[in-house]
């Protein structure tokens, strides 16, 4: 089956050959193409070729155009360091004090930062493989982008000291996210949301409710209005906010390996598809084929029977240097389980 057919069958509750499998490949795609990570970040052509090459090599079920979380914040004035051959990271927030919040304006995906290059990459990937595999592109959520605009620690303090400023930051970040989501849909792909700062490892469910939920709701409903379904990924612990994540309207929750798929299935599995959660570092980066196989089987044992379906995925984006053999082993392990997605203790 083609990846697209798998998702259609999964949605309709029809049998398929195997569960969809999504090792969340980001800069590892550069390794597949044999180029440096800095080269793909701002080149639509290379970014597209890298992701197409990675998809063809591994045969996974979603192509997600992604280099790092900072592309929107950078397009709004945050300073990002781009090492020659490692993942980019935030160098300086866009503003140094909450007083400057009014200086911020939403980004224009047509000209700001590396958004135009990413847009070009999406168009090319869709053109090349869009008829067989879902193509998505990452949209960093408003709260997380806000943290890159003012600094994470400053944002954390502001949630308690000056909530109105946080809302301003989230509003302008939401505007960027809406425009970027539109650009992604216009390019033929689906936006895929990630808002790690809303993790319960960082903020309370109350803060999620106040600062995350309203903006994510608007973002999700906008994307739904464009005819696309939405996956929401939040890193780290999320159990206290699963029902709020469902409340955003997202169709699929991507669960980190810090949280339990089995518990998520019981809590929200009748309302949303689940995605997860093979540990990206301890298993996919540091483990071997056998440990990858075990981890995949554990995921399927926990949530292969999720009422709204399971996508066997990594718990978070893969480290750049994840061994190819482990990515291959992940897809192979899902293949081996086949359909129906059942793992009995005896077969482990």
């Amino acid at each position: 089956m083609k990846p697209l057919d798998r998702f259609v069958a999964l949605s309709l509750g029809r049998p398929l050959d195997r569960l969809p499998c999504v090792p969340i490949v980001g800069n590892t795609a550069a390794r597949v193409l044999g180029v440096r990570t800095a080269e793909i970040r701002n080149s639509g052509g290379l970014l597209a070729r890298a992701h197409v090459a990675a998809y063809r090599r591994f045969g996974y079920d979603v192509v997600r155009v992604f280099t790092d979380l900072y592309v929107q914040a950078e397009a709004m004035g945050a300073k990002v360091r781009v090492p020659e051959d490692e993942t980019a990271y935030l160098h300086q927030p866009a503003i140094t004090s909450a007083d400057e919040v009014d200086r911020l304006v939403a980004a224009d995906p047509g000209k700001d930062g590396c958004l135009p290059a990413h847009r070009e990459a999406i168009v090319r990937v869709v053109d090349e493989v869009g008829d067989e595999v879902p193509v998505t592109a990452a949209v960093t959520g408003p709260f997380t982008t806000a943290s890159f605009l003012v600094g994470a620690e400053a944002l954390a303090r502001l949630t308690l000291r000056a909530p109105a400023v946080v809302r301003r930051l989230c509003e302008v970040s939401l505007e960027t996210a809406l425009r970027w989501a539109d650009a992604i849909v216009d390019a033929g792909a689906s936006p895929s949301l990630t808002d790690p700062m809303l993790s319960s490892t960082v903020v309370s469910p109350r803060q999620f409710f106040d600062f995350g939920l309203p903006h994510l709701k608007r973002l999700v409903s906008h994307i739904h209005g464009r005819g696309k379904s939405v996956t929401l990924h939040i890193c780290g612990k999320t159990k206290p906010v699963w029902s709020l994540m469902v409340g955003t309207g997202a169709d699929c929750l991507s669960i980190d390996n810090e949280a339990s798929l089995a518990e998520a299935k019981v809590a929200v599995g009748d309302r949303v598809r689940l995605m997860g959660n093979v540990p990206p570092v301890a298993v996919l980066f540091e483990g071997d084929a056998a440990s990858v196989r075990n981890a995949v089987r554990a995921c399927v044992r926990e949530a292969g029977d999720n009422p709204r379906g399971l996508v066997v995925a990594s718990g978070c984006s893969l480290p750049t240097e994840t061994p190819f053999a482990n990515i291959e082993a992940m897809v192979r392990a899902v293949d081996e389980i086949g359909w129906p997605p059942r793992v009995t203790e005896a077969s482990v």
């Binding site: 360091r81 090492p83 490692e86 993942t87 990271y89 935030l90 160098h91 994470a152 620690e153 954390a156 303090r157 949630t159 308690l160 000291r161 319960s200 960082v202 903020v203 309370s204 803060q207 890193c235 780290g236 612990k237 206290p240 990206p280 570092v281 301890a282 980066f285 540091e286 480290p319 750049t320 240097e321």
Partner: protein, 227 residues
């Protein structure tokens, strides 16, 4: 210094409460009151500020407080310290459990985790030298040697920078600075498995865990040389 009255004791517990309640202004006011009452500032710090921060750490551990709450509690604690510390008698700063050089390794600027560990280590009585974020391996080693550190604490949230942690250990070995200087590591992608593999002396999953690890590292005999 006078003896503690029942009222003074209650003032101290109110100081602790003010830290837990994230109330900086109240923390400062109570600290000033306690000084006026002639209560030993060292005692105010221990039984008031540090006690409050420890309780905040417990609430964080129980997931009743989260990072924003913990940061605002620490702001209150430091505001109180600012009032009390100048009144400590000379030589009274002897509650140091050890010196820790701490920072985020090169290639990353996520520093909330590092800052929380710093807060909790200081609360527990360690002297912490913060070298900041995006810090080259050699800088950790040089600073640790120049301040006579017992421990280097390395943090990262990014897998790409984990190699820099091994590099710090390699540099320390090259200078034969271990086991005099111990290394503890932490941060999102870091695990005990990884810490063991690169030869770190300790790993902690969170800020309160870091206090336990640092305390343990200070208790183990540092003179002991493994052949």
């Amino acid at each position: 210094m006078k003896d503690m009255s029942q009222e003074d004791v209650s003032l101290l517990s109110r100081l602790s409460d003010a830290v837990v309640a994230m109330d900086g202004a109240e923390t400062v006011r109570l600290s000033e009151d306690l000084l006026l009452q002639g209560i030993d500032p060292g005692r105010c710090i221990e039984a008031g500020l540090v006690d409050g921060m420890r309780r905040a750490g417990d609430l964080f551990e129980r997931e009743e407080y989260f990072i924003p709450e913990l940061l605002i509690c620490s702001d209150a604690m430091y505001a109180g310290l600012h009032v009390l510390q100048p009144h400590l008698p000379r030589g009274a700063v002897e509650r140091k459990k050890g010196i820790v050089v701490i920072g985020v390794v090169e290639g990353d600027t996520h520093d909330i985790g590092k800052n929380l560990v710093k807060i909790m280590l200081e609360t527990a009585g360690f002297e912490v030298v913060d070298v900041g974020r995006d810090v080259a391996p050699a800088v950790f080693v040089e600073r640790a040697e120049s301040v006579g550190a017992h421990i280097i604490g390395l943090s990262t949230l990014m897998t790409t920078t984990m190699g820099a942690m091994s590099e710090v250990i390699r540099l320390l070995d090259e200078r034969r600075a271990r086991p005099r200087i111990k290394v503890m590591v932490g941060g999102g992608p870091v695990s005990q498995q990884f810490a063991t593999r690169i030869g770190a002396d300790g790993y902690a999953a969170n800020a309160s865990g870091a206090v336990a690890v640092a305390t343990r590292l200070r208790q183990s005999p540092s003179e002991l040389r493994v052949p």
